[in-house]
Protein backbone atom coordinates (compact mmCIF):
# COMPACT_ATOMS: atom_id res chain seq x y z
CA UNK A 1 0.00 0.00 0.00
CA UNK A 2 1.28 3.42 -0.80
CA UNK A 3 0.13 7.02 -0.35
CA UNK A 4 0.82 10.08 -2.47
CA UNK A 5 1.89 13.51 -1.27
CA UNK A 6 -1.49 14.83 -2.44
CA UNK A 7 -3.44 12.23 -0.45
CA UNK A 8 -1.47 13.03 2.69
CA UNK A 9 -2.02 16.78 2.20
CA UNK A 10 -5.76 16.22 1.74
CA UNK A 11 -5.82 14.51 5.12
CA UNK A 12 -3.78 17.33 6.70
CA UNK A 13 -6.19 19.94 5.29
CA UNK A 14 -9.14 18.04 6.77
CA UNK A 15 -7.37 17.85 10.13
CA UNK A 16 -7.35 14.05 9.87
CA UNK A 17 -3.68 13.34 9.36
CA UNK A 18 -2.03 11.01 11.86
CA UNK A 19 1.29 12.55 12.85
CA UNK A 20 3.91 11.10 15.21
CA UNK A 21 7.48 12.08 16.06
CA UNK A 22 10.52 10.09 14.97
CA UNK A 23 10.92 8.92 18.58
CA UNK A 24 7.30 7.81 18.93
CA UNK A 25 7.33 5.93 15.61
CA UNK A 26 9.98 3.49 16.85
CA UNK A 27 7.70 1.89 19.44
CA UNK A 28 4.70 1.94 17.10
CA UNK A 29 6.54 0.07 14.33
CA UNK A 30 7.90 -2.42 16.87
CA UNK A 31 4.44 -3.02 18.26
CA UNK A 32 2.29 -3.02 15.14
CA UNK A 33 4.76 -3.87 12.41
CA UNK A 34 5.82 -1.65 9.53
CA UNK A 35 2.93 -2.55 7.26
CA UNK A 36 0.20 -1.58 9.69
CA UNK A 37 2.13 1.46 10.95
CA UNK A 38 2.61 2.72 7.37
CA UNK A 39 -1.12 2.43 6.77
CA UNK A 40 -2.06 4.28 9.95
CA UNK A 41 0.59 7.00 10.13
CA UNK A 42 0.72 9.82 7.56
CA UNK A 43 3.65 11.95 8.67
CA UNK A 44 6.68 11.47 10.95
CA UNK A 45 8.28 14.64 12.33
CA UNK A 46 11.98 14.98 13.11
CA UNK A 47 13.88 17.65 15.05
CA UNK A 48 17.35 18.85 15.87
CA UNK A 49 18.92 21.76 17.76
CA UNK A 50 22.69 22.15 17.85
CA UNK A 51 25.47 24.58 16.99
CA UNK A 52 26.05 24.62 13.25
CA UNK A 53 28.45 26.99 11.56
CA UNK A 54 27.80 27.55 7.85
CA UNK A 55 24.81 29.72 8.72
CA UNK A 56 24.15 33.38 8.13
CA UNK A 57 21.66 36.14 7.48
CA UNK A 58 21.10 37.79 4.10
CA UNK A 59 19.83 41.26 4.86
CA UNK A 60 18.51 43.97 2.60
CA UNK A 61 18.32 47.15 4.66
CA UNK A 62 16.37 49.26 2.16
CA UNK A 63 17.89 52.47 0.78
CA UNK A 64 19.07 55.41 2.83
CA UNK A 65 18.49 59.01 1.80
CA UNK A 66 20.72 59.98 0.02
CA UNK A 67 21.49 56.51 -1.33
CA UNK A 68 24.60 54.57 -0.41
CA UNK A 69 26.46 51.56 -1.80
CA UNK A 70 27.75 49.70 1.29
CA UNK A 71 31.34 48.58 0.86
CA UNK A 72 32.02 47.73 4.48
CA UNK A 73 29.40 47.23 7.16
CA UNK A 74 29.25 46.22 10.82
CA UNK A 75 26.32 45.12 12.96
CA UNK A 76 27.11 45.67 16.66
CA UNK A 77 30.75 45.89 15.45
CA UNK A 78 30.57 42.45 13.83
CA UNK A 79 31.65 42.71 10.18
CA UNK A 80 29.22 41.72 7.43
CA UNK A 81 30.03 40.90 3.81
CA UNK A 82 29.01 43.66 1.38
CA UNK A 83 30.30 42.43 -1.97
CA UNK A 84 26.79 41.67 -3.19
CA UNK A 85 24.83 44.82 -4.03
CA UNK A 86 24.27 48.36 -2.70
CA UNK A 87 22.17 47.53 0.36
CA UNK A 88 22.43 43.72 0.41
CA UNK A 89 24.70 42.26 3.03
CA UNK A 90 25.44 38.84 4.48
CA UNK A 91 26.41 38.38 8.10
CA UNK A 92 27.94 34.99 8.74
CA UNK A 93 27.35 33.15 12.02
CA UNK A 94 31.08 32.87 12.74
CA UNK A 95 32.04 36.49 12.05
CA UNK A 96 33.69 38.23 15.02
CA UNK A 97 34.49 41.92 15.69
CA UNK A 98 37.87 42.97 14.29
CA UNK A 99 38.97 44.03 17.78
CA UNK A 100 37.90 40.78 19.47
CA UNK A 101 40.99 39.40 21.25
CA UNK A 102 40.16 35.99 19.71
CA UNK A 103 42.72 33.44 20.94
CA UNK A 104 45.45 35.98 21.76
CA UNK A 105 44.84 35.19 25.41
CA UNK A 106 44.08 31.49 25.16
CA UNK A 107 41.42 30.22 25.37
CA UNK A 108 39.40 33.12 23.96
CA UNK A 109 35.82 33.52 25.16
CA UNK A 110 34.27 34.76 21.91
CA UNK A 111 31.46 36.45 23.74
CA UNK A 112 29.71 38.07 20.76
CA UNK A 113 29.67 37.50 17.02
CA UNK A 114 27.54 36.97 13.94
CA UNK A 115 25.41 34.24 15.54
CA UNK A 116 24.54 36.59 18.41
CA UNK A 117 23.67 39.42 15.98
CA UNK A 118 21.25 37.04 14.23
CA UNK A 119 19.68 36.00 17.55
CA UNK A 120 19.37 39.66 18.67
CA UNK A 121 17.75 40.69 15.37
CA UNK A 122 15.18 37.91 15.68
CA UNK A 123 14.57 38.87 19.32
CA UNK A 124 13.64 42.35 18.04
CA UNK A 125 16.60 44.06 19.71
CA UNK A 126 18.16 47.29 18.42
CA UNK A 127 21.44 46.76 16.57
CA UNK A 128 24.04 49.45 15.92
CA UNK A 129 24.67 49.52 12.17
CA UNK A 130 27.74 51.17 10.68
CA UNK A 131 28.63 51.33 7.00
CA UNK A 132 31.24 52.98 4.79
CA UNK A 133 31.54 53.50 1.07
CA UNK A 134 33.70 55.36 -1.45
CA UNK A 135 30.65 57.14 -2.90
CA UNK A 136 29.47 57.21 -6.51
CA UNK A 137 27.38 59.61 -8.54
CA UNK A 138 24.31 57.39 -8.16
CA UNK A 139 25.11 56.39 -4.54
CA UNK A 140 26.73 59.50 -3.05
CA UNK A 141 26.56 58.76 0.69
CA UNK A 142 29.83 57.63 2.25
CA UNK A 143 29.06 57.01 5.90
CA UNK A 144 26.21 55.70 7.99
CA UNK A 145 25.75 55.14 11.72
CA UNK A 146 22.22 54.18 12.78
CA UNK A 147 20.17 51.90 14.96
CA UNK A 148 18.39 49.14 13.07
CA UNK A 149 15.91 46.47 14.10
CA UNK A 150 14.21 43.57 12.37
CA UNK A 151 10.86 45.31 11.91
CA UNK A 152 12.49 48.09 9.84
CA UNK A 153 14.59 45.89 7.57
CA UNK A 154 13.37 45.53 4.00
CA UNK A 155 14.07 41.80 4.21
CA UNK A 156 16.01 39.39 6.40
CA UNK A 157 16.58 35.82 5.30
CA UNK A 158 18.38 33.08 7.15
CA UNK A 159 20.44 31.48 4.41
CA UNK A 160 22.43 28.53 5.69
CA UNK A 161 24.75 26.76 3.23
CA UNK A 162 25.08 23.67 5.45
CA UNK A 163 22.83 22.45 8.27
CA UNK A 164 21.30 19.27 9.66
CA UNK A 165 24.32 16.99 9.21
CA UNK A 166 23.32 13.37 8.71
CA UNK A 167 25.33 11.92 11.60
CA UNK A 168 28.61 13.43 12.80
CA UNK A 169 31.96 12.82 14.44
CA UNK A 170 32.33 12.04 18.11
CA UNK A 171 35.32 13.82 19.67
CA UNK A 172 37.91 12.84 22.27
CA UNK A 173 41.30 14.12 23.34
CA UNK A 174 43.47 11.00 23.19
CA UNK A 175 47.00 12.41 22.99
CA UNK A 176 47.31 15.96 24.36
CA UNK A 177 48.34 16.21 28.01
CA UNK A 178 46.12 19.25 28.58
CA UNK A 179 42.48 20.14 27.84
CA UNK A 180 41.83 21.10 24.23
CA UNK A 181 39.24 23.66 23.12
CA UNK A 182 37.42 22.64 19.96
CA UNK A 183 34.16 23.29 18.12
CA UNK A 184 33.11 20.00 19.76
CA UNK A 185 33.55 21.57 23.19
CA UNK A 186 36.26 21.26 25.83
CA UNK A 187 37.97 17.87 25.71
CA UNK A 188 39.85 16.82 28.81
CA UNK A 189 43.15 14.89 28.49
CA UNK A 190 43.46 11.10 28.59
CA UNK A 191 40.03 10.78 26.98
CA UNK A 192 38.51 12.50 30.02
CA UNK A 193 35.27 13.04 28.17
CA UNK A 194 33.71 12.16 24.81
CA UNK A 195 31.52 14.76 23.07
CA UNK A 196 28.89 14.21 20.40
CA UNK A 197 26.55 16.42 18.42
CA UNK A 198 23.51 14.75 16.85
CA UNK A 199 19.91 14.15 17.87
CA UNK A 200 20.41 10.54 16.69
CA UNK A 201 17.07 8.81 16.08
CA UNK A 202 15.26 12.17 16.03
CA UNK A 203 17.65 13.83 13.55
CA UNK A 204 16.10 14.65 10.11
CA UNK A 205 18.42 12.97 7.61
CA UNK A 206 19.02 9.90 9.79
CA UNK A 207 15.31 9.16 9.32
CA UNK A 208 15.58 9.43 5.54
CA UNK A 209 18.96 7.80 4.87
CA UNK A 210 18.58 7.68 1.09
CA UNK A 211 16.96 11.11 0.65
CA UNK A 212 13.72 9.63 -0.58
CA UNK A 213 11.35 12.36 0.67
CA UNK A 214 13.73 15.13 1.79
CA UNK A 215 14.86 17.02 -1.29
CA UNK A 216 15.09 20.41 -2.93
CA UNK A 217 11.96 22.37 -2.06
CA UNK A 218 11.03 20.44 1.10
CA UNK A 219 9.16 22.74 3.51
CA UNK A 220 10.50 22.55 7.08
CA UNK A 221 10.30 24.00 10.59
CA UNK A 222 13.15 26.50 10.62
CA UNK A 223 14.06 28.57 13.67
CA UNK A 224 10.45 28.70 14.84
CA UNK A 225 9.07 29.69 11.41
CA UNK A 226 8.81 27.86 8.13
CA UNK A 227 11.71 27.40 5.77
CA UNK A 228 12.81 25.31 2.83
CA UNK A 229 15.59 23.01 1.71
CA UNK A 230 17.07 24.81 -1.30
CA UNK A 231 19.96 22.56 -2.26
CA UNK A 232 22.22 19.83 -0.90
CA UNK A 233 24.31 21.46 1.80
CA UNK A 234 28.01 22.13 1.24
CA UNK A 235 30.12 19.04 2.02
CA UNK A 236 27.12 16.80 1.16
CA UNK A 237 28.72 13.35 1.09
CA UNK A 238 26.19 10.61 0.37
CA UNK A 239 28.76 7.83 -0.16
CA UNK A 240 29.98 7.88 3.45
CA UNK A 241 30.43 4.31 4.71
CA UNK A 242 27.12 2.78 5.84
CA UNK A 243 26.27 -0.05 8.21
CA UNK A 244 24.22 -3.13 7.27
CA UNK A 245 21.02 -1.19 7.89
CA UNK A 246 22.04 1.52 5.43
CA UNK A 247 22.69 4.15 8.13
CA UNK A 248 25.74 6.36 7.43
CA UNK A 249 28.56 5.76 9.92
CA UNK A 250 29.70 9.38 9.98
CA UNK A 251 28.91 12.81 8.54
CA UNK A 252 27.12 12.21 5.24
CA UNK A 253 24.25 14.22 3.75
CA UNK A 254 23.70 17.89 4.58
CA UNK A 255 21.00 20.43 3.75
CA UNK A 256 21.17 24.02 2.53
CA UNK A 257 18.31 25.86 4.22
CA UNK A 258 16.50 29.13 3.75
CA UNK A 259 13.74 30.93 5.65
CA UNK A 260 12.27 34.31 6.54
CA UNK A 261 13.86 35.59 9.77
CA UNK A 262 10.86 37.83 10.42
CA UNK A 263 8.78 34.71 11.16
CA UNK A 264 11.36 33.18 13.50
CA UNK A 265 11.52 32.94 17.29
CA UNK A 266 14.81 33.62 19.09
CA UNK A 267 14.14 30.61 21.33
CA UNK A 268 15.09 28.48 18.33
CA UNK A 269 17.92 30.62 16.93
CA UNK A 270 20.76 31.14 19.41
CA UNK A 271 24.19 32.66 19.18
CA UNK A 272 26.87 30.22 20.34
CA UNK A 273 30.24 30.92 21.99
CA UNK A 274 32.71 28.05 21.91
CA UNK A 275 35.58 28.81 24.27
CA UNK A 276 38.91 28.75 22.45
CA UNK A 277 37.21 28.23 19.10
CA UNK A 278 34.86 31.02 18.08
CA UNK A 279 31.23 31.94 17.62
CA UNK A 280 28.52 30.05 15.81
CA UNK A 281 24.76 29.67 15.64
CA UNK A 282 22.36 27.01 16.88
CA UNK A 283 19.19 26.73 14.81
CA UNK A 284 16.16 24.58 15.46
CA UNK A 285 15.27 22.46 12.45
CA UNK A 286 12.36 20.08 12.03
CA UNK A 287 11.70 18.14 8.83
CA UNK A 288 8.44 16.27 8.17
CA UNK A 289 8.65 12.90 6.51
CA UNK A 290 5.52 11.83 4.61
CA UNK A 291 4.87 8.11 5.06
CA UNK A 292 4.50 7.18 1.40
CA UNK A 293 4.91 3.46 2.05
CA UNK A 294 6.35 0.75 4.28
CA UNK A 295 9.97 1.47 3.29
CA UNK A 296 9.66 5.08 4.45
CA UNK A 297 8.41 4.08 7.88
CA UNK A 298 11.06 1.37 8.26
CA UNK A 299 13.69 4.11 7.77
CA UNK A 300 11.88 6.36 10.28
CA UNK A 301 11.94 3.58 12.86
CA UNK A 302 15.73 3.77 13.05
CA UNK A 303 16.81 3.82 16.69
CA UNK A 304 19.87 5.11 18.55
CA UNK A 305 21.30 1.60 18.93
CA UNK A 306 21.45 1.27 15.11
CA UNK A 307 23.22 4.59 14.51
CA UNK A 308 26.99 4.43 14.85
CA UNK A 309 29.31 7.42 14.89
CA UNK A 310 33.09 7.52 14.44
CA UNK A 311 35.25 8.55 17.42
CA UNK A 312 38.02 10.89 16.28
CA UNK A 313 41.02 12.09 18.23
CA UNK A 314 40.67 15.88 18.08
CA UNK A 315 44.10 16.41 19.66
CA UNK A 316 46.00 14.98 16.70
CA UNK A 317 44.34 12.89 13.97
CA UNK A 318 41.47 15.27 13.26
CA UNK A 319 43.44 18.53 13.02
CA UNK A 320 46.26 16.87 11.07
CA UNK A 321 43.77 15.21 8.70
CA UNK A 322 45.27 11.78 9.20
CA UNK A 323 44.62 8.43 10.84
CA UNK A 324 41.28 6.74 11.24
CA UNK A 325 38.49 6.64 13.82
CA UNK A 326 39.56 5.17 17.17
CA UNK A 327 36.25 3.28 17.29
CA UNK A 328 32.58 3.46 16.38
CA UNK A 329 30.01 4.00 19.12
CA UNK A 330 26.22 4.05 19.00
CA UNK A 331 24.00 6.94 20.04
CA UNK A 332 22.35 4.59 22.52
CA UNK A 333 25.72 4.31 24.29
CA UNK A 334 26.45 8.03 23.94
CA UNK A 335 23.07 9.07 25.33
CA UNK A 336 23.43 6.66 28.28
CA UNK A 337 26.06 9.04 29.68
CA UNK A 338 29.00 6.62 29.56
CA UNK A 339 30.93 4.92 26.79
CA UNK A 340 33.52 2.19 27.09
CA UNK A 341 36.54 2.89 24.92
CA UNK A 342 39.89 1.10 24.94
CA UNK A 343 38.97 -0.48 28.28
CA UNK A 344 38.12 2.85 29.87
CA UNK A 345 34.71 4.14 30.89
CA UNK A 346 34.35 7.70 29.59
CA UNK A 347 31.71 10.26 30.43
CA UNK A 348 29.80 11.64 27.45
CA UNK A 349 28.57 15.18 26.83
CA UNK A 350 26.25 16.36 24.09
CA UNK A 351 26.30 19.63 22.19
CA UNK A 352 22.95 18.80 20.64
CA UNK A 353 19.92 19.43 22.85
CA UNK A 354 17.49 16.51 23.01
CA UNK A 355 14.80 18.47 24.92
CA UNK A 356 14.92 21.19 22.24
CA UNK A 357 14.88 18.60 19.42
CA UNK A 358 11.81 17.00 21.04
CA UNK A 359 10.12 20.37 21.42
CA UNK A 360 10.70 21.10 17.71
CA UNK A 361 9.46 17.69 16.50
CA UNK A 362 6.45 18.16 18.81
CA UNK A 363 5.68 21.64 17.50
CA UNK A 364 5.90 20.52 13.88
CA UNK A 365 3.68 17.55 14.71
CA UNK A 366 1.07 19.94 16.11
CA UNK A 367 1.29 22.31 13.13
CA UNK A 368 0.63 19.41 10.75
CA UNK A 369 -2.08 17.79 12.90
CA UNK A 370 -3.82 21.18 13.14
CA UNK A 371 -3.78 21.53 9.34
CA UNK A 372 -1.46 24.56 9.44
CA UNK A 373 1.53 23.02 7.68
CA UNK A 374 1.40 21.10 4.40
CA UNK A 375 4.09 18.75 3.20
CA UNK A 376 5.89 19.28 -0.10
CA UNK A 377 7.05 16.95 -2.84
CA UNK A 378 10.68 17.75 -3.68
CA UNK A 379 11.14 19.50 -7.01
CA UNK A 380 14.43 17.63 -7.40
CA UNK A 381 16.11 14.97 -5.27
CA UNK A 382 19.32 15.46 -3.30
CA UNK A 383 22.31 13.65 -4.84
CA UNK A 384 22.29 10.13 -3.44
CA UNK A 385 24.68 7.22 -3.16
CA UNK A 386 26.60 6.61 -6.37
CA UNK A 387 25.75 10.07 -7.75
CA UNK A 388 29.43 10.99 -7.81
CA UNK A 389 28.91 13.91 -5.42
CA UNK A 390 31.71 13.73 -2.84
CA UNK A 391 33.26 15.82 -0.09
CA UNK A 392 36.88 15.85 -1.08
CA UNK A 393 39.89 17.51 0.50
CA UNK A 394 41.61 20.68 -0.66
CA UNK A 395 43.86 20.05 -3.65
CA UNK A 396 46.89 22.09 -2.74
CA UNK A 397 48.98 22.80 -5.82
CA UNK A 398 52.17 24.77 -5.28
CA UNK A 399 52.58 28.22 -6.77
CA UNK A 400 55.86 28.65 -8.63
CA UNK A 401 57.96 31.45 -7.22
CA UNK A 402 58.32 34.17 -9.83
CA UNK A 403 61.22 36.54 -10.25
CA UNK A 404 60.16 40.03 -9.29
CA UNK A 405 60.72 42.39 -12.20
CA UNK A 406 61.43 45.89 -11.03
Amino acid sequence: MSKTYEEINDKIKKGKAVVVTAEEVIGIVRQKGAKKAAREIDVVTTGTFAPMCSSGALINTGHTKPKMNFKQAWLNRVPAYCGIAAVDLYIGATSIPEDDPANKVFPGRFVYGGGHVIEDLIAGKEIIFEAQSYGTQCYPRKELLAKIRMADLNSATLLNPRNAYQNYNVAVNARAKHPIYTYMGILRPNMGNINYCSAGELSPLLNDPNYRTIGIGTRIFFGGGTGYVFYPGTQHDPDTKRNEKGVPMGGAGTLALVGDMKEMDSRFVRGVSMTGYGVSLAVGIGVPIPVLDEDVIISCAVCDADILAPVWDYSDDYPEFKGKPLAYVSYAELKSGKVKLQGKEIETASLSSMPMAREIAGKLKKWIADGKFLITKPSAPLPGMGSGVKFHPFVERAVKKRKIIL
Partner: protein, 138 residues
Protein backbone atom coordinates in the same frame (compact mmCIF):
# COMPACT_ATOMS: atom_id res chain seq x y z
CA UNK B 1 14.52 28.64 60.15
CA UNK B 2 15.68 29.39 56.61
CA UNK B 3 18.64 31.18 55.09
CA UNK B 4 18.61 32.10 51.44
CA UNK B 5 21.14 33.92 49.26
CA UNK B 6 20.03 36.16 46.42
CA UNK B 7 21.27 38.81 44.05
CA UNK B 8 18.91 41.76 44.05
CA UNK B 9 18.65 44.05 41.06
CA UNK B 10 17.33 47.54 41.74
CA UNK B 11 16.13 49.48 38.72
CA UNK B 12 17.05 53.19 38.69
CA UNK B 13 13.51 54.01 39.88
CA UNK B 14 13.99 51.84 42.98
CA UNK B 15 17.42 52.83 44.25
CA UNK B 16 16.20 55.84 46.20
CA UNK B 17 13.62 53.89 48.20
CA UNK B 18 14.50 52.29 51.58
CA UNK B 19 13.49 48.80 50.44
CA UNK B 20 15.96 46.83 52.58
CA UNK B 21 15.04 48.80 55.66
CA UNK B 22 11.31 48.17 55.04
CA UNK B 23 12.10 44.52 54.43
CA UNK B 24 13.76 44.12 57.81
CA UNK B 25 11.19 46.19 59.71
CA UNK B 26 8.05 44.65 58.25
CA UNK B 27 9.04 41.05 57.69
CA UNK B 28 11.10 40.12 60.73
CA UNK B 29 14.14 38.87 58.85
CA UNK B 30 17.82 39.60 59.21
CA UNK B 31 19.68 40.70 56.10
CA UNK B 32 23.37 40.13 55.66
CA UNK B 33 24.65 42.30 52.82
CA UNK B 34 27.67 40.56 51.29
CA UNK B 35 28.22 42.95 48.44
CA UNK B 36 26.41 46.07 47.23
CA UNK B 37 26.81 48.51 44.42
CA UNK B 38 24.08 51.12 44.43
CA UNK B 39 24.40 54.69 43.25
CA UNK B 40 21.62 57.30 43.00
CA UNK B 41 19.78 57.40 39.67
CA UNK B 42 21.55 54.29 38.37
CA UNK B 43 20.67 50.60 38.44
CA UNK B 44 22.11 48.78 41.42
CA UNK B 45 22.86 45.24 42.57
CA UNK B 46 23.17 43.74 46.00
CA UNK B 47 24.20 40.24 47.08
CA UNK B 48 22.36 39.34 50.29
CA UNK B 49 21.59 36.47 52.63
CA UNK B 50 18.13 36.68 54.15
CA UNK B 51 17.50 34.72 57.35
CA UNK B 52 14.37 34.11 59.41
CA UNK B 53 11.55 31.61 59.83
CA UNK B 54 10.58 29.73 56.63
CA UNK B 55 7.42 31.81 56.42
CA UNK B 56 9.18 35.13 57.01
CA UNK B 57 11.85 34.41 54.38
CA UNK B 58 9.18 33.47 51.85
CA UNK B 59 7.21 36.64 52.61
CA UNK B 60 10.37 38.71 52.39
CA UNK B 61 11.05 37.49 48.84
CA UNK B 62 7.38 37.96 47.89
CA UNK B 63 7.69 41.57 49.07
CA UNK B 64 10.85 42.14 47.00
CA UNK B 65 9.15 40.66 43.94
CA UNK B 66 6.09 42.87 44.44
CA UNK B 67 8.29 45.94 44.65
CA UNK B 68 9.84 45.05 41.30
CA UNK B 69 13.26 44.05 42.60
CA UNK B 70 14.96 41.61 40.19
CA UNK B 71 15.89 38.33 41.92
CA UNK B 72 18.55 35.81 41.04
CA UNK B 73 19.23 32.85 43.29
CA UNK B 74 22.80 31.67 42.93
CA UNK B 75 23.76 28.30 44.25
CA UNK B 76 26.99 28.77 46.10
CA UNK B 77 28.97 30.77 43.57
CA UNK B 78 27.21 29.61 40.40
CA UNK B 79 24.27 31.11 38.57
CA UNK B 80 22.40 28.78 36.20
CA UNK B 81 20.20 30.86 33.91
CA UNK B 82 17.45 28.46 32.83
CA UNK B 83 16.20 30.83 30.12
CA UNK B 84 19.54 30.74 28.36
CA UNK B 85 20.12 27.00 28.98
CA UNK B 86 19.16 24.72 26.07
CA UNK B 87 19.67 21.49 28.05
CA UNK B 88 22.34 20.30 25.64
CA UNK B 89 24.56 18.93 28.37
CA UNK B 90 27.90 20.29 27.11
CA UNK B 91 28.75 21.25 30.71
CA UNK B 92 28.21 17.89 32.41
CA UNK B 93 31.51 16.28 31.44
CA UNK B 94 33.39 19.23 32.96
CA UNK B 95 31.65 18.84 36.33
CA UNK B 96 33.89 16.42 38.20
CA UNK B 97 31.71 16.37 41.33
CA UNK B 98 28.54 15.51 39.33
CA UNK B 99 26.60 18.57 40.48
CA UNK B 100 25.52 19.08 36.87
CA UNK B 101 23.89 16.00 35.38
CA UNK B 102 21.49 15.10 32.60
CA UNK B 103 18.36 13.39 33.90
CA UNK B 104 16.17 10.65 32.38
CA UNK B 105 14.32 13.09 30.15
CA UNK B 106 17.67 14.52 28.99
CA UNK B 107 17.15 17.79 30.86
CA UNK B 108 19.89 19.38 32.90
CA UNK B 109 19.80 19.02 36.69
CA UNK B 110 21.89 21.07 39.07
CA UNK B 111 22.51 19.93 42.63
CA UNK B 112 23.80 23.00 44.45
CA UNK B 113 24.82 20.97 47.49
CA UNK B 114 27.35 19.08 45.41
CA UNK B 115 28.71 22.19 43.65
CA UNK B 116 32.18 23.20 44.82
CA UNK B 117 32.18 26.39 42.72
CA UNK B 118 35.28 25.35 40.76
CA UNK B 119 34.00 27.15 37.68
CA UNK B 120 35.08 24.49 35.15
CA UNK B 121 31.57 24.32 33.68
CA UNK B 122 31.40 28.04 32.90
CA UNK B 123 33.58 28.15 29.75
CA UNK B 124 31.97 24.90 28.53
CA UNK B 125 28.54 26.49 28.11
CA UNK B 126 27.99 27.75 24.55
CA UNK B 127 25.04 29.92 25.64
CA UNK B 128 26.52 31.83 28.63
CA UNK B 129 23.90 30.13 30.82
CA UNK B 130 26.43 29.47 33.60
CA UNK B 131 28.09 32.37 35.35
CA UNK B 132 29.92 32.89 38.61
CA UNK B 133 28.34 35.26 41.11
CA UNK B 134 31.59 37.20 41.30
CA UNK B 135 31.55 37.79 37.52
CA UNK B 136 27.86 38.64 37.59
CA UNK B 137 28.32 41.31 40.24
CA UNK B 138 31.27 42.89 38.46
Amino acid sequence: MAKKSAILHFGHDLVERPIISDLIRNHDVSVNILQASITPEEDGTMFVQIEGTDKAVKKAFDYLKEEGVGLIFPAKNLIWDKDKCTDCGACVAQCLVRALTVNESKKLDFDSDKCIACGLCIPACPYHALESVTDHLS
